[in-house]
Structures are given as C-alpha cells and as structure tokens.
C-alpha cells in the first residue's frame, strides 16, 4: 500500500531541494546511472507531496522542487564529488528512497540516515587488493594464459594495485596514477618474456594492466546514452577514455622499454 507522509512532517520545498541536491550529487558520485537518479529523486519528492525536476550536468546537479498548486518553490545546485564508485552507497540510497516513499521514515530521520550512509563507506584495501589480483589472474586464464602466466599477472596486478592505493592515498592525480601503475604492471607482466618462462608470455603481458580499465564508467556512459542523457554520457565517456589513454601510455612505455612488440 502506498502511503504519503503527514502534512506536519513534510519539509518545505527549500529543505527538500537542499536534501535532494545533496542526495543526487552523492548518488551520481557513487556511480549511479542518470535514470536511477531521476527515479529515486522523483519518488522522494512525491512522498512529500512535491514535484522535482533535475538537470544533470557533468560536474553539477541542478534541482528544482515545487508543491503543485502553491508558490512554495525552491532551486539548488550541488557539485558532484570526485568519489570512488560505490555500489553499496548506491544500494543504500535507493533503499532510503523507498523507505521515504513508503512512509517508514520521516524527513529528519531520512536526513540523518543519509549522513550515516554517506559517512559509512568502509573499504578493506587488503581484501580488495587480494581479490583484484586473483580476478586479473583469472582474466589471464580466460584469455588462454597458462599457470605461470596467471602467477605473473597475479603478482604484477598486486604490485600495481598496491601502488595505485598508495598514490591515490597521497592525493596524486588519478590519470598520473593510472599511467604509473600501468607502466609498473606492464614491466612486471613482461617477466615471462624477459626470462623465457611459460608457454604464454604474451598473454601475461597483455592482461597485466586490465584491472585498470575503467569498466563501470564505460558502462554508465553507454547506459546514459540509451536514456538520452547525452551530456552526462559524453562526459563519463571522455573521463573513461582519458583513463584508458593514460593506461595505454603507461603500457606502451613499459612494452617499449621491455622490448616487446604487442601490436
């Protein structure tokens, strides 16, 4: 059964606009698609008897909220933060939108819950490092690599990802980080070729940098394209393209120094 919040607990258009702009900026920063954001924001606004229109720009979200049949209107803009993609935040914020829509939480509680969700983005870097190294080794296998190539890729990925965490933690630019990590992983991935070990050294060289490919931004950009959010799609695509370009420069430099012809 669909319920709406009682009049006394309803926020003004200004309060709701401020909340929704923060909510939208965080949801987009966490890597949600534009269609997801539109649905969630409209759902929350409707629960409080308001309507909302969002204009999603590459670096900002512009929100307009109004109560139908009254002069209670407000607009706000929020900057989309450069945060890491987090499906956990995406899921929790979507859950929150449904809880608001179903009248399970009032506005004050929702605002508190939002703060808690945003702050509670726990990451365990060591487990992630281990899983990423294992994943890239599996990827090497999918491309036909043997056990030695898998081991090389696993170590090259672990070293590269470790370097990535270190550099990002020190606030180094992401593009430079990707370039440096791709170079390091490419050089380490070329171990099999250098010492002539294993049957598939070329597979190890080629797959050692694949963990740096920005898969989710690429998928998000094409998803936005399908829903006609062309500006957002283009900006996400260019972001992903720049990272791929950095990756390729690092990889080519590594291959050049290791005297490997990949192409």
């Amino acid at each position: 059964m669909k319920t709406t919040t009682s009049d006394s607990a309803r926020p003004s258009a200004g309060e709701l606009s401020l909340f929704l702009s923060q909510y939208s900026a965080r949801l987009l920063g966490a890597g949600a698609t534009c269609i997801r954001l539109e649905k969630n924001a409209a759902r929350i606004a409707k629960a409080y008897g308001k309507e909302a229109e969002i204009s999603i720009m590459p670096r900002h979200v512009h929100l307009s909220v109004w109560a139908p049949g009254s002069t209670d209107t407000a607009a706000s803009i929020a900057a989309i933060g450069h945060t890491a993609i987090s499906f956990r935040i995406n899921t929790k914020l979507s859950e929150l939108s449904w809880e608001i829509a179903d009248g399970k939480v009032d506005f004050a509680t929702a605002a508190k819950r939002f703060d808690r969700i945003v702050r509670d983005d726990r990451r365990d870097p060591r487990t992630v490092l281990f899983l990423v190294a294992l994943a890239n080794a599996s990827f090497c296998r999918l491309f036909g690599g043997d056990f030695i190539a898998m081991t090389t890729v696993c170590l090259a990925t672990a070293a590269g990802y470790h370097l990535k965490l270190l550099l990002l933690g020190r606030g180094v630019d992401i593009r430079l980080t990707v370039l440096v990590c791709a170079f390091a992983s490419a050089v380490l991935g070329a171990t099999d070729t250098l010492f002539s070990i294993g049957e598939t050294p070329s597979v190890a060289s080629g797959t050692s940098v694949l963990y740096l490919v920005p898969g989710i931004p690429f998928l998000n950009s094409f998803s936005d394209l399908l829903y006609r959010h062309y500006l957002c799609a283009f900006s996400r695509f260019v972001d992903a393209l720049v990272l791929t370009c950095s990756l390729s420069i690092g990889l080519c430099a590594g291959m050049l120094l290791m005297n490997i012809r990949m192409f």
């Binding site: 470790h162 370097l163 270190l166 050089v187 380490l188 070329a190 250098l194 120094l257 290791m258």
Partner: protein
C-alpha cells in the same frame, strides 16, 4: 646495455624496498605510537631530577607573576 633487464630490475627493486617499509609502517600504526630509537629530547627531559618543577607547575608560577 640490456635495457629490459635494467628496467625490470629497477621496478622489482622499488617494490622490494617499498613492501617492507609499508609493512613496518602498518605494523607501527597498528601497535600504536612508539618512541623512536634515536631522537633529540628537550633539555628538561635530559637533565630532569625528581623534585624539579614540571612544565605544568612552571605555567602556574608564570600565571601568578602575571597577576602581580
């Protein structure tokens, strides 16, 4: 010159140095702050004799002086 081998050696050496350093740093942060093995202390720390005024007491005296 064998460029590939030198490049590979440099990268491996870099990681070989980085890993123990990171492990030591992580271990230190987990066990809490430990005083360094060699370091410079203040004159008071070096020549302190039980009964000497502590820094807190010194401040109190200074406060009294101010009141005067």
């Amino acid at each position: 010159m064998n460029t590939p081998l030198i490049t590979w050696g440099c990268i491996v050496a870099l990681f070989a140095c980085m890993l123990p350093a990171r492990l030591i740093a992580a271990n230190r942060s987990r066990t809490g702050h430990r005083p360094p093995l060699i370091g410079f202390g203040s004159e008071r720390e070096a020549f302190f004799i039980p009964g000497d005024p502590t820094s807190r007491q010194t401040k109190e005296y200074e406060d009294e002086d101010d009141d005067l």
